[in-house]
């Protein structure tokens, strides 16, 4: 549970470490209140899709699964928006067309395909909860910083600052703030990480039967701990497999 929590919130934060679900964050989370509204809708959709994936959908073929995820997201969107209207009147109307676009937020696709369909129901729900929590945390930090810098307020309450920079309510301001917040999260993740990263170039192993890499992996495994294997793609960039 601790590992699922730390991965969802910090090490594999979907927004800051994988750039997932950026569109509404960049465009409309100019205030903390809007960030909370976007995060609640996204989280509800993600949790429902992940739960249903684990219970019913995981045995379908990939392309049908994706269509079903999207169908569920469309069905969950309207009640989620009603809930937001009830909790924060007039906030969702300020989100414009981005409300409708929350149904194509890739967060649910990323967790359903990456985790829910391969694990138990309990783990799947926990993962969806903590990944959504990580997304919400990142979105709220970004929304709060933008609101403070661009409006001089927090949760619509005036702060005693003389200088405001309205440009931070624009998308370019959001990207720059996301960059700095992502760097802070990366630094904390590096500091707190208990994982041992081993990068293996499979082409190299195939060519020379690279015993050094295999020995290093075995040595790390004998010391315990969790592992993440990163595969080098043809272009030389690494990505999780």
């Amino acid at each position: 549970m601790k590992e699922i929590f730390s991965n969802g919130v910090l090490h594999k934060n979907p927004l800051l470490m994988y750039a997932i679900g950026l569109c509404p964050i960049v465009a409309v989370t100019t205030t903390l209140r809007q960030a909370v509204a976007v995060s609640i809708v996204t989280s509800i959709i993600t949790i429902v899709v992940c739960m249903l994936t684990n219970l019913f959908i995981k045995k379908l073929t990939m392309w049908i699964r994706v269509a079903v995820y999207f169908g569920i997201a469309i069905c969950v969107l309207i009640p989620s928006v009603w809930l937001i209207d009830f909790i924060f009147p007039n906030v969702s109307s300020g989100l414009g067309i981005y409300v409708a676009l929350l149904s194509v937020n890739t967060l649910y696709l990323y967790r359903s395909e990456g985790f829910s369909r391969k694990n138990t129901f309990g783990k799947s729900v926990l993962d969806a909860l903590f990944t959504s929590l990580g997304y919400t945390l990142a979105a709220c930090i970004i929304g709060a910083i933008r609101e403070i810098l661009a409006n001089g307020t927090i949760w619509d309450k005036k702060l005693p600052f003389g200088t405001i920079i309205p440009a931070f309510s624009k998308p370019f301001g959001a990207f720059i703030i996301i960059g700095f917040v992502a760097a802070v999260f990366a630094a904390i993740s590096n500091f707190a990480s208990t994982q041992h990263y081993v990068t293996i170039d499979f082409d190299e192993i195939e060519d020379e039967a690279d015993n050094a890499a295999i020995n290093a992996l075995e040595k790390k495994m004998s010391n315990g701990g969790s592992f993440e294997v990163k595969v080098l793609s043809e272009e030389g960039t690494t990505y999780d497999e």
């Binding site: 509404p24 969107l77 676009l101 890739t106 990207f175 760097a183």
Partner: protein
């Protein structure tokens, strides 16, 4: 006829050059970054984004004329759901054709789902609706939005080499530096539009 073509060209140029919709409004930015980082299926993905944007825009044009009795906000949600359902049907038809007619490989079908279900594709008919575009301008806007996505991917992928340097603090390496680079590009495109 000439007027329609002119409308289409103006819409393409406006969305692509003056107001690059990915940098200016953030539509499809997650998929754009992922495509820039993994360019193996660049041509295929770009083609698919153009196809879905244009096809959804064309079909949606005829739907949008019917429901005019709702308030602006309700209309956005209802039409968003309508367009999402059309997109779902388009995706299923496309995958069936790819799978059984063209015998496409699994990876391409996987990429098709990423190209179809992204915020840029779904945003196009909603933007057409907001701007009350004519049929030809709707298609022009769809092509412009999709090309803006392609241009953004190319620009970001060229930056990947230059932001990978040793002098950069470790925490900024990779995605954080890329976010800041995209922010600067976004600022530049904002300068064009204003």
């Amino acid at each position: 006829m000439m007027n329609s073509i002119l409308n289409m060209v103006i819409a393409v140029l406006g969305t692509l050059l003056i107001q690059n919709i990915v940098f200016y409004s953030g539509y499809g930015v997650s998929e754009m970054l992922r495509l820039a980082m993994r360019p193996k299926y660049f041509v295929f993905m770009s083609g698919m984004v153009i196809y879905f944007s244009v096809a959804l825009s064309m079909v949606s044009y005829f739907i949008e004329r019917k429901s005019t009795f709702l308030s602006r906000y309700d209309k956005i949600i209802v039409r968003g759901v309508e367009y999402a359902l059309i997109l779902l049907v388009l995706y299923i038809i496309t995958v069936l054709v790819m799978k059984y007619v063209f015998r496409a490989e699994q990876q391409k079908i996987k990429r098709t789902s990423i190209a179809a279900f992204n915020s840029l594709v779904l945003a196009v008919p909603l933007l057409n609706d907001e701007s009350r575009f004519s049929f030809s301008a709707s298609i022009g806007n769809a092509i412009g939005c999709a090309l803006a996505f392609v241009v953004a991917s190319v620009l970001v992928s060229t930056a990947l080499v230059s932001i990978d340097n040793e002098s950069m603090p470790k925490a900024f390496k990779g995605l954080p530096a890329l976010f800041i680079f995209v922010g600067i590009l976004s600022l530049a495109f904002m300068g064009f539009s204003s």
